[in-house]
Symmetry: C2
Subunit: 743 residues, 2 copies
């Protein structure tokens, strides 16, 4: 019996095993097992990983990054710049915390420098050629690093060299209207104009002046515009506060177009064709030099002539006069000229971008790009090293997760440390010119963090409307610096908000319509969905145009850690917010880009355009119907696509379906590009976000063309309005066509 | 025992069943079954389906299509055109054999017509104003359909109206060199020039003339160029053969730029901005009119003046003289003028494209587009209805397979029946302008079949080098018409071949560098990989420029079925070859586009450029190194991508991998676009295939810029050579960058 039982059990086991084998292998022939990649391709963003990222971003490490990056001045192409290149490479190539790969890319670009052996001079010269006053050549040092011989003399990059001498006049901000006004009572021929920063672009202060016969321009920062009126370094300004000391001077690029000026639309490689220097546009035609307000004070308060209008008056305790031209008869400078001795020279130099990547696991051919420039004017603790410190901390945390095998993003992430931004966004522009096709085809989004922290009050976020939602999601998950129970989002909405037709009260995001930082080429030339983040001011507490040490020798680690972000908690909040957005863009199954939010902006632009222009356009027989129709098509296509996304079970359908939807979302901004939309500035190709002079919250090309036609009254200019209206309507219609069902 | 045995068996069965259940459901938890879409996304082209397609393409059905399409003349926007629109729609909407969807799209385009109430006239007028000769107004009818009142009078579309009268001169082909030569001995001011077709574009014969003071131009087809010298309709020409009868006149568009002339780069919708008519470029500035060679004979043989050079002589049995200007003193026309009375008028009219689609099953967002124009000058049996008949037979076979549920392509197929091609590729150009972004992003390839059959000798195929391989594959599977044991491929290689470094002796494919048919906007404006097919001549048997009834009233069903393709076997071969390529592009897992074959062409262009230009460029300090480097990068990237494709087991990897590779292949031609490459003709954006005047088998922009600089000798023109060399090198380098590993 036992034997039989044993045999019975063995037989039963054998039969059972046989059954299991049949069940497993026999039937799976019909219903084959899922290949291992099936679960990979369906993975979505992992919230626990985001939490891990947020918790690991370390404010102290950001501080240490900043200390390292600001040891020496690192103006583009200098030895200090090379030191930062090496530092970035070392960090991104670190075997424990680095990226998959990192390398440098060089461009030979046209830069402008002062001559250390012949410093630029600004003097007051009497009729008998006696020098009565000499403006300070370098800023007054308060700390050892400000004495570094590598601190570049304040200058206006791309100002021509020259030695103009003439009577001084005060031209307010150097806007066209300023010179026009001044010219009504003062003969500007042969004069030197002193202007204050603000109101007009740097180069424009000289470009606007030249037609009136002005031969040289000075520019300074009025304490009214930067220091809330404070002027004394004895107890008021830096080193006692964040305010600009009297000798502080804002340096800058005095060049309007972005990118290398000699190789427009081409990457500046060694043998690339370079246009003749004389053909460069958008740079000062006459010498221009920035000075500190302590010198400006001496010059302006001595000016003769009529009193300038109230809105031209600054913070000095004297009346701002136009200039006779020249100084008052009661002044020691009576009959004296102001003389500029500008020795700037131009040079084609090698500038480096440092690039690093984390390869995507599922869609390596989709790129999320994160960038920040590396070059500064002096030590650049805030501009740009606050952003670089943040980027390095972000790459440390992400790099470590990759190296430890804990994470690999679905899509590839490219980090760019751009060179020569201060000279006009050159490194990022050359990068986009070199890789135009590849980047256009594959880039999901570009995230820019230049100056990470202006101040500690609130988030500032700008970008295409389609990123609003992912920015909100990220901002809700990050604690506001210094406020443990308030999120960045909840804090932000208190400072700057709007009422959206779709969502009610929400934080107000800005748009990227200018060329203020390295997002410009991505937005305007490539049509890539972009965004820009920083922490910024409470506008009720200061009127400063920007943080007061901007582009001065005082933008040092000391300044940043004492006056901008003690404890580096705002830096940390930016790293967390931008990093959260980055991970979501890289990892989400469905791209977190919302086309209906884009529709909301297009509608608001459209309604504004109708209000501003429709009556007059009707009178000119130009119909806005095609634009109306296009915006309505866009809205309905966006609603439809949203509905497709909501109603699809994308994790259980072919991965080619989610890819298809993602391609629609990714490429949306590309549809707004038209290289012929702005015939005078081809690098601006995005018809929704191009820069505009009209200052209206509506379509920029339409606004500018309309303003131009209205002012000239010529029918050929009304034709240009009609042309642009067609370009715009067809771009929006074309964008709508990309959102409807693909066939 | 039996009971025990039964129990034992039942127990065993129960255990077995239990085992099977465990094996199937218990273990599949770990190894879940493959979702149903897995096998779908991995499907490749089905060769048996291609065989089925080939066998079902019916020559008799093509013939019946042609009979239907050619019942009445169907010039763009006429009632006959509308009849063909309705016919296409009916066929494509047929529930048994139609497509998934078909619809029409309309554009309001600027066309030019003769006035039926005031026919254009060409007369010889004596000094006393007696009309001594009047050219025939309409072609002589031989069949009833040629008598149709809808047969449009021969005219030069876009010639201005006008009534020039002057002495006649003979200007050969109306090339710049022809007028230059003629002007050396004849004062051309106030003359009428008679020219023959060929050598220069239609409009150029007038554009080139005007600067010399010529006031009107005639154009005719010399029997030497079209009829192998035959001239008599008594026994030689149609209706006795395919040759052009003496009264035959080639109509045509006398406009150089493609697309609607009033809305460049914009879709011609109702409210679209239209440029002023005076701003249209590339049309005749002076009246021009085509005439038959029977009238040309009468005019030319009476001309006085010096004997024209040998290469200006045609087939007439008289000496071709320059003209005194004017006629011989011995002629009855002595001292007479030639007068043109041109009453052409322009009108903005609605032209329709008919569109149809088959939706893709796996990648509906990838389009293979197949197009053919629908409008003709008269009955257009060959141009374009041979192509339309082929397209309709193709859609019948494919549509039926779809409707019967036997097939659905992996990718979407779009069929386009373009309108107003004869006026300058207008329908296809407007389509690409309207859907620019969508088509740029998603189109795998464009296949054009315009005139399907010129003659019965051999295949003619043109396209980007990357399609060579799939064209060869298809051509090998189709029998050559009339040759049961020879393939289209084997027949083709006998007629036109070349030795490829990679493959040895192969058929020679042409390039699509001009704007000869509707592929132009796809190639030059969108950078879409394109191809064009037809069956054509044995060049040893005829010197005809083109089939002799081209654009005449003789291009009828009678002509096509008697003289071009009796039995319609060549039509069938084209339908089979083009359809085979179409199915492969739509169904292949990996797109059948070969980037290494592109590299071969770039190398050959490069070597030619080095031979032609390098020495002289060196002397101008312009280096060809960047171009050399770019071409080498392209070759190595192409080799690498080929290797990735060969070494991957793509049917068993994530479908996102094959999609990635396919995107690289699909978008390759887009990388060659640069809207600033040809500043004078923005619609030409493809730096490899733009049209060129230089006539060298090398990069067109380089060749033209070089020729221009060499002829002017100006350093600014050498700068343009350098500029274009940079554009070209960076485009090729950028293309290479899209072929290397994606990150």
């Amino acid at each position: 019996m036992i034997k039989q039982a044993v045999i019975g059990v063995l037989c039963s086991l054998a039969i059972l095993t046989f059954g299991i084998l049949i069940g497993h292998y026999g039937i799976t022939e019909i219903n084959s097992p899922a290949p291992s990649w099936v679960s990979d391709v369906m993975k979505d963003v992992d919230e626990s990983l985001i939490e891990k990222f947020l918790s690991e971003v370390d404010n102290i490490k950001i501080q240490e990054n900043l200390r390292e990056l600001t040891k020496v001045p690192h103006m583009a192409t200098t030895a200090g710049d090379e030191q930062t290149v090496q530092f970035m490479l070392k960090r991104w190539q670190d075997p424990e915390t680095g990226l998959d790969q990192a390398w440098r890319e060089e461009y030979m670009v046209y830069l402008s420098f002062p001559d250390p052996k012949n410093p630029n001079k600004v003097t007051v010269v009497s009729p008998s050629d006696t020098v009565l006053h000499t403006a300070r050549e370098k800023e007054k040092p308060y700390t050892a690093d400000q004495e570094d011989p590598a601190v570049v003399q304040p200058y206006a990059a791309y100002s021509p060299a020259g030695h103009p001498k003439g009577k001084l006049v005060y031209a307010n901000q150097g806007k066209p209207s300023d010179y026009q006004h001044l010219n009504q009572t003062v003969d500007l021929r042969g004069t030197i104009a002193i202007t204050r920063y603000g109101g007009a672009g740097r180069a424009d202060k000289a470009i606007n002046a030249a037609p009136y016969g002005v031969i040289g321009v000075l520019v300074y920062t009025d304490p009214l515009d930067i220091n809330d009126g404070f002027m004394s370094d004895v107890d008021e300004t830096y080193p006692h506060s964040w305010y600009m000391p009297p000798s502080g001077v804002e340096r800058g690029s005095f060049k309007n177009l972005y990118g290398d000026p000699l190789t427009p639309y081409l990457a500046a490689k060694e043998e690339t064709y370079r246009i003749p220097v004389k053909n460069i546009t958008g740079i000062p035609p006459i010498p221009i030099q920035p000075i500190g307000f302590e010198d400006a004070y001496i010059l302006i308060c001595e000016l003769g002539g009529m009193k300038a209008p109230a809105e031209w008056q600054g913070a000095f305790n004297c009346t701002y006069n136009f200039g006779g031209p020249g100084f008052k008869n009661t002044s020691a400078f009576k009959n004296s000229d102001v003389k500029l001795d500008i020795y700037n020279y131009e040079e084609v130099k090698n500038s480096s971008n440092v690039m690093g990547v984390i390869r995507g696991s599922v869609e390596p051919d989709r790129y999320v790009i994160y960038g920040n420039h590396r070059d500064s004017w002096v030590h650049g603790a805030i501009d740009p090293s606050s952003g670089t410190s943040v980027m390095l901390e972000m790459t440390r945390v992400l790099g470590q997760m990759v190296k430890q095998g804990k994470w690999r993003p679905r899509r590839s992430i490219i980090f760019g440390s751009w060179g020569a931004e201060e000279f006009g966004l050159i490194g990022s522009a050359e990068y986009t010119e070199q890789y135009f096709t590849k980047l256009s085809e594959r880039t999901v989004a570009y995230i820019n963090v230049d100056i990470a922290v202006f101040a500690n009050a609130t988030l500032r976020a700008s970008g295409m409307p389609s990123v609003q939602n992912v920015v909100f999601t990220a901002a809700k998950q990050v604690k506001a610096p210094g406020l443990d129970s308030t999120s960045v989002y909840d804090n932000w909405i208190q400072y700057t908000n709007r009422t959206s037709p779709a969502y009610g009260l929400i934080p107000r995001m800005g748009y990227l319509s200018g060329a203020g930082s390295d997002y410009a080429a991505f937005v305007h030339y490539l049509g890539i969905t972009s965004m820009d983040f920083s922490y910024t001011y409470d506008r009720t507490k200061t009127n400063a145009r920007i943080y007061p040490a901007y582009h001065t020798a005082y933008d040092t680690f000391d300044y940043a850690s004492k006056f901008i972000d003690p404890g580096f908690f705002s830096h940390q909040a930016i790293a967390r917010t931008a990093g959260n957005v980055l991970i979501r863009l890289a990892d989400s199954l469905v791209l977190p880009l919302n086309c209906s939010d884009y529709a909301e902006t297009l509608e608001s632009y459209f309604f504004m355009a109708v209000n501003l222009y429709e009556d007059q356009l009707k009178a000119k027989n130009i119909s806005m119907e095609p634009l109306k129709h296009a915006v309505a098509s866009f809205r309905s296509a966006a609603t439809h696509l949203d509905q497709v996304i909501r109603s699809s079970d994308l994790r259980n359908e072919t991965p080619l379906k989610v890819r298809r939807i993602n391609d629609q979302l990714m490429l949306l901004d590309r549809a707004f590009l038209n290289p012929l939309a702005f015939p005078d500035k081809y690098a601006y190709r995005h018809v929704i976000w191009a820069s505009s002079n009209a200052g209206e919250p509506t379509f920029p090309g339409l606004a500018d063309a309309y303003a131009n036609a209205e002012s000239s009254g010529q029918s050929s200019d009304w034709d240009k309005v009609h042309y642009h209206l067609s370009v715009l309507s067809q771009a929006i219609g074309g964008a709508a066509d990309t959102l409807v069902d693909v066939i």
